[in-house]
Point group: C2
Chain length 308, copies 2
Amino acid sequence: MFFEGSEKKVEIITASTHGSLRLLGLDFWTQIVSLAKADIISVIDNQHCDAYLLSESSLFVWDNRIVMLTCGLSTLIDSLLALLEHIGVKNVAFVSYQRKNEYLAHLQASTFADDIARLRQYIPGKACRIGHLDSHHHFIFTSDTSLIAAQDKTSELLMYHISGPIAQYLTSTKQSVEQVCERLGLSTLFAGFNLDAHLFSPLGFSVNGIKDEQYFTIHITPQEQSSYVSVETNFDMADSDNPVAAQLLALLQPISWDSIGFNVPVIAANQPKNICLAHCTYPIEQNYQVYFGHFQQLGTEILNPELM
Amino acid sequence: MFFEGSEKKVEIITASTHGSLRLLGLDFWTQIVSLAKADIISVIDNQHCDAYLLSESSLFVWDNRIVMLTCGLSTLIDSLLALLEHIGVKNVAFVSYQRKNEYLAHLQASTFADDIARLRQYIPGKACRIGHLDSHHHFIFTSDTSLIAAQDKTSELLMYHISGPIAQYLTSTKQSVEQVCERLGLSTLFAGFNLDAHLFSPLGFSVNGIKDEQYFTIHITPQEQSSYVSVETNFDMADSDNPVAAQLLALLQPISWDSIGFNVPVIAANQPKNICLAHCTYPIEQNYQVYFGHFQQLGTEILNPELM
């Protein structure tokens, strides 16, 4: 009953010399997604964005931007290299590639170091690890490209070992998409978003949401001993009128969580009561900052030995 | 500049049907150690014990007991299986086999699950993981043998990311064995022990100590970003007259540490100021308890991104 929830993530911004990425069409994206060992399950769109729900997470395509996340044993680097081949590096304004610490890193097809060695054969860039290897950490590569979108804001909230009634519901046998959405309060947290949600068998829940140029995606791996929930958006999750991150933390009660912000400071929350064990501000360029914070519930957890 | 400090550990207790393990001789132990991809560097002995300092940690041999620890990319399971073949499972009263979480688990020749699948072909036993996969954790196998040494007491203190003047000295270019022993205060902490200490090139320090039937061993991997110090002993490290664990924690100022006790409760310490993030009591038999505690310095660490 193990599933590796933690994601690899790619973002590509194309230069004005390149046509709209949305015109590349379903067959093209199906092929790109298959290179990562994933499938397209469904798609929603609006005037700005095509949002694909994948068997392993999500793909968002705007006219000049792609965000793709894949979890499990997916090989996202293969999708990224194929995209760079197709788009042409000269038409690329910016690339970032991330991996989070995995629960079982030895099962992955490659390490982050392997991936960036291949990536650097296409495009030069800076790469680093933020966080200790024996704790939560985050690998990030960003291309050395002059055109950096300083307006680019993304927040990621990564929750580990969720608990409480919703965590229990998410491992129960009789779930429905509607009930999960309702219990998470998605229609309030993300009012006005068009949603595309899916329950996986035996367990797991994914949802994409789009509203104008805003997007969010939530992926839940509820498996006991290795539960993981990721939330990613270009929406302000710390907005005082609608503190999405704080509300999801209070609902899902993780033992520990990370907040990663691109040009958005790390999100603090009051519930569950917590301590920030470690944080970092990492300047990639003058106007482009990566923030990382690793939080842990205050109090001592009583561990249950897992028999093997 | 990476070295995997975290150890695998074997303990074997032989039944009274078996002769003294100390009579097996240097050639035998050299061969056993080589199966783990390690070498014997030196040996000290007393009336009760032969203590071998290894290129990857330590081996202690008493008449009816072996404790062997190996770090790096060593394959301790191969030594253990060869020992079981030689001794004969019918002459074995008890076996335990442990692994700690590794910094870079994917570099290891095998996983704990791989190892115990092989071990269980020789001897049945219980195995479990204590601690979450995304945090400090500890794997342990113990044989299903009727003869359990309830008097068997062992304390392990595992320190991660040491800091302060001694940590700095341990990464400096001009060290001496004498200076390391003096700065650690070994002659006071372990008064009356016969010591065998070694400095490794480019970095690293190991010491074995024996006094009557007591032993201790300290292994220091001081490399920045992946520093690790282990202390293991059958001596009472929480003794109020000589609180060895508390004194070593105060000297080495780790960011986080684990305390593992076999029939010895987890050791608490005041300095550095800390929080117990998680703990566990794991009963193997009625009179045999494993204690695990994972501690972290209070306060927020400011992380330095490590360029790749």
